[in-house]
């Protein structure tokens, strides 16, 4: 019976050591910095008001389908600069995680924007974009530290004839894979949205 008493004593002492308060009482909420909840595409023409469209998914990886504004209405023959901003509204506006654009810029050598559009909606670049073939022309305005394009800023000239079609942007995370020839199939997708586009 002595041994049984020992067991009970040991048991009690271990219980005291390990019974750390109730886990369910007050779990601390986590910041969730990785989601992109809003992507804004700003087409700034050389003259006139910028054209702004947004893609919003307020619940990040939650079940709600993303909402697109648009279409992107561009003027014939007008040159535009497209800038992309990405934010995470699940983080506080003051938190560094809020500004995903800055995170992408910081890791420019691992990220690359690809673009695709309906043929002939732009006079420059021509073609239908580099999602199907990396070699196709996109006019990137920015470069990473290895002198490879990034795509937060790009240059466009709308077609001279009125048309309507689609415009898709795809942000790929390509850690260790990004090169002058890495394609839209390499790496993982951080952003993939397609807008309607009209040239009038």
């Amino acid at each position: 019976m002595k041994s049984l008493r020992f067991v009970f004593l040991a048991l009690m002492s271990w219980s005291l050591v390990f019974l750390t308060g109730c886990s369910k009482d007050d779990p601390k909420p986590e910041n969730i910095p990785e989601a992109i909840t809003k992507a804004t595409l700003t087409f700034t023409p050389t003259t006139g008001d910028p054209v702004v469209v947004t893609a919003t998914d307020s619940d990040g990886d939650g079940p709600n389908v993303r909402v697109l504004s648009g279409p992107i209405n561009l003027a014939k023959n007008m040159p535009y600069t497209l800038t992309i901003t990405l934010i995470n509204e699940l983080a506080a506006t003051t938190a560094p995680e809020y500004n995903v654009t800055a995170e992408v810029e910081e890791e420019a050598d691992e990220h690359l924007f690809f673009f695709a559009w309906t043929n002939n909606t732009f006079s420059n670049p021509t073609g239908n974009g580099n999602i199907d073939s990396r070699a196709d022309v996109v006019n990137y305005n920015d470069k990473d530290t290895k002198n490879l394009p990034l795509g937060l800023s790009t240059a466009w000239i709308a077609s001279g004839t009125a048309s309507s079609g689609k415009f898709r942007i795809l942000l790929k995370h390509q850690p260790g894979l990004k090169s002058a020839t890495s394609t839209s199939a390499d790496g993982e997708s951080d952003l993939d949205v397609e807008f309607d586009l009209a040239v009038n």
Partner: protein
């Protein structure tokens, strides 16, 4: 008194009427003097038998004067046939020699493992277990008929018994219910395989005293008994393998004391390190792993009582194939179409993201006491399980775990066993469990499952009756479980809940001894399992899943968390019928098990549709309940052609059906057949040799659900069609791989020295470097399975 019961099982009652009163007692031990608990001694002509107890002691009572023929058997040892002249008044010590030709193991009831004699079980021990050394627990268990594994790459194996896995398979590590984050398919049991001296799989859920939730079966991982006499012994194993450049060192030292007979101790440790595995044509990048484990145990045993203390620490870090890290349906479509996985680089020992790190600690204290007709057992266990998983994330977040949980589990088991009479034995018991799960703070992700406190109390009653050639066992159990939890929904908003479950389960089994060498068993048992936290609340993605998972309690439209009571969610209930037939003759053994397991409200992840986020298209899965049936046959046999050559055969056939939808289920092990031939030289000489060749043939899983590729999903969506909702029923992203056949060869040499034994074994798995994919390996979407592997093992014991 326990012994008396065992005695009864093997003795026909007619024998008891005789008026003879001689007693012969003694002890069975191995070459090293270690007691062989569970050895059987049979008076062959009289058909009387006894079983050695945990210290190897046995006792024949009520013998008449005269000459008897005795046969002494123990798994993995050469059977001894000798004569005994009664009266025989001195203690009889029987020394058994290990039998390297023994391929079939029938493990007999021993006190600690406490396998019900009427249950259907298979085991892995002795030589067969030794041959799996260096492999993980889940991988070794594939040698047991009816057991497969669900894999995530070359290092993560979860045992699958009769088609079901995870929380439907209960693992008892040294008598304690193993508790970890076992809701995940990529979460392997945290057990050092080297601790085991035998692994027993109970297939008929009749293990009612371990818990109500073993819908598939119970795995018992049993260490060897500690020495009770003076002297020091030990073992050292070193194993190297060519495929992943792995090295394993494991060993133990044990001893007893002269001063305090009955006192024993053991200290054991294992270190493993492996680099990337190689498929037949390329490196499986980032599939390395490492493991550092140790355990300490000590025990003090007197004749009628004893106490054991055990501590073990398990620590592992495992890489997951880099090419499996996909985000969207588009990424998955690309990955499925590649012939070589993305990010395949040169061989390395480095483990990068995605990876997981797990630490598991166990403290166990166990005491038993015999008093008259009663035996009491009390056992307390404390486990700490810490799991962190790392993925490729934005910026510096890569170094922060994306998933992290700390789980503490206290278990207290008490049992009172009473032998009422020679024919009737009862045991009553109580199992209590208290568990707390907390997220590791700072992951910067919404935790996949909530924090919770969990209390379970279960009571059981088991009655055993013996009537001539029949043995009957009845078991009843009632459990009450309570969960208090708090988690975060997809909006990162706190939810709280409290859920209670209670239910009864039971078992009826019979065993009939057909003759001296064969038995027939049949059992019907019920089991139940409440849905686990992941099944109820999961939201989002987790490692190498490439899909979003939603729990049973999430509203289908808003994804808000619903209260359990109003959700219509039910507990899983299973009814399993198992029949077994065993023949155990000197030259021929065979074991056939047939089963039908019908699981009501079976919970599984069902593909439900695609959702579009800013990152692209995601297939999403919802935990769903259906009725499922699993039926099959396991077969094992070996035939000793002569004293040198043995033929072995093993097969498993399984047919799983989603009864509600009249459909197939995904990841059900395909049917397989193993055949082997083995040569053993005379094991009595100083040097002995062995060689073995085996072929494993695995069929294509023809009972697999329809295939919808991610590319088809994307293309259809471009035309506004949601293919997944349009084609109801279960589906898989890729067709089941072709069947395959693998050849393995091994040669071994054993040298017996005066007080020690040395063994060297060279073996080659997948000798032809076949490229193949295994249906139940989740890496099959991305890459081939492991190619040729040559292993050299050196084992020394003294």
């Amino acid at each position: 008194m326990r012994l008396a019961f065992l005695l009864l099982i093997l003795i026909p009652f007619a024998g008891w009427a005789q008026l003879c009163s001689f007693r012969v007692a003694g002890k069975v031990e191995d070459e090293r003097g270690i007691p062989l608990a569970g050895a059987t001694l049979v008076l062959t002509k009289e058909n009387k038998g006894v079983i050695a107890d945990e210290s190897g002691k046995f006792e024949f009572t009520q013998l008449c004067a005269g000459k008897y023929e005795v046969e002494i058997r123990y798994v993995g040892y050469q059977t001894i046939t000798t004569s005994l002249k009664v009266p025989f008044n001195k203690p009889w010590t029987i020394r058994m020699e290990s039998d390297s030709t023994s391929l079939n193991e029938i493990v007999i009831e021993d006190k600690h493992t406490n396998v019900a004699l009427t249950s259907t079980y298979s085991s892995l021990s002795g030589k067969l277990l030794e041959e799996t050394m260096g492999k993980s627990l889940g991988e070794s268990m594939r040698e047991i008929p009816g057991v497969n594994s669900i894999q995530t790459g070359p290092a993560i194996f979860k045992p699958v018994i009769h088609g079901v896995h995870s929380q439907r398979v209960l693992i008892l590590n040294n008598g304690i219910r193993q508790e970890g984050q076992n809701w995940g398919v990529e979460h392997a049991p945290e057990v050092d395989q080297f601790i085991a001296s035998n692994i027993i799989v109970i297939k008929d859920a009749a293990a009612i005293k371990y818990g109500a939730d073993a819908l598939g079966g119970v795995v018992l991982v049993n260490p060897a008994k500690l020495p009770t006499e003076a002297g020091i012994g030990g073992q050292l194993h070193t194993i190297v393998a060519s495929n992943n450049g792995s090295g394993v060192i494991s060993g133990f030292l044990e001893g007893g004391s002269k001063k305090w007979p009955g006192f024993g101790w053991r200290t054991q440790g294992t270190i493993k390190k492996a680099g990337d595995a190689r498929a037949s044509n390329y490196v499986l990048s980032n599939t390395g792993f490492e493991e550092q484990n140790f355990s300490l145990s000590t025990a003090y045993h007197k004749e009628k009582s004893g106490i054991d203390v055990f501590y073990s620490h398990f620590n592992t870090s495992i890489g997951i194939l880099r090419g499996t890290a996909v985000e969207t349906a588009d990424d998955l479509a690309n990955a499925l179409e590649r012939s070589v996985p993305q990010y395949t680089t040169a061989f390395t020992y480095d483990i990068k993201q995605p990876r997981q790190s797990v630490q598991h600690d166990l403290i166990k204290i166990n005491a038993h006491l015999e008093k008259g007709k009663n035996e009491f057992r009390l056992q307390y266990g404390l486990q700490s399980n810490r799991r962190t998983e790392y993925d490729f994330r934005l910026g510096a977040l890569t170094e922060i775990p994306a998933l992290g949980f700390q789980l503490y589990t206290h278990t207290l088991d008490a049992e009172w066993q009473r032998t009422h009479s020679s024919r009737w034995q009862s045991s009553w018991g109580i199992n209590a469990l208290y568990q707390t799960n907390s997220k590791v703070d700072g992951t910067q992700t919404i935790p996949f499952i909530p924090n919770f406190d969990h209390i379970t109390t279960g009571v059981f009653l088991v009655e055993k009756l013996t009537l001539r050639q029949w043995m009957l066992e009845l078991g009843l159990r009632y459990d009450v479980k309570k969960y208090d939890l708090a988690g975060f929904d997809f909006k990162n908003k706190l939810y709280r809940s409290s859920i209670d479950f209670q239910n009864a389960s039971g078992t009826v089994s019979v065993k009939r001894k057909l003759n001296n060498t064969s038995t027939f068993t049949s059992s019907i048992s019920s089991a139940w399992r409440p849905p686990n936290m992941a099944e109820l609340y999961s939201i989002g993605t987790h490692q190498s899943a490439a899909s979003i998972e939603y729990g049973l309690l999430l509203n289908e439209i808003t994804s808000e968390v619903k209260p359990y009571e109003k959700s219509g969610v039910k507990v899983e209930k299973a009814l399993k019928w198992v029949v077994g037939y065993k023949v155990d003759r000197p030259r021929f053994t065979t074991e056939i098990t047939g089963y039908v397991n019908y699981i009501f409200d079976f919970i599984y992840l069902k593909p439900r549709g695609v959702t579009q986020g800013l990152r692209g298209i995601f297939p999403y899965f919802r935990y769903t309940q259906t009725d499922a049936s699993f039926m099959g046959i396991d077969f094992f046999s070996n035939y000793r052609i002569n004293s040198f050559w043995t033929l072995t055969g093993k097969a498993s056939y399984l047919r799983a059906t989603d009864e509600t939808q009249n459909d197939y289920l995904v990841f059900i092990p395909a049917n397989r057949v193993d055949v082997g031939i083995r040569y053993e030289s005379n094991s009595e000489k100083k040097w002995s040799w062995s060689a073995e060749s085996k072929v494993r043939w695995v069929a294509n899983q023809s009972r697999a659900p329809q295939v919808i590729t991610p590319r088809q999903i994307i293309d259809a969506l471009a035309q506004g069609i949601d293919l997944v909702s349009q084609r109801p029923g279960n589906f898989d992203f890729k067709a089941a791989p072709d069947g395959y056949a693998l050849l393995s060869l091994s040669v071994g040499a054993t040298c017996k020295l005066k007080n020690s034994k040395c063994e060297i074994r060279l073996s080659a798995d997948n000798l032809t470097n076949q490229s193949f994919r295994e249906y139940t390996n989740r890496l099959r979407y991305f890459a081939d399975d492991v190619g040729r592997n040559i292993t050299l093992g050196v084992h020394y014991s003294f």
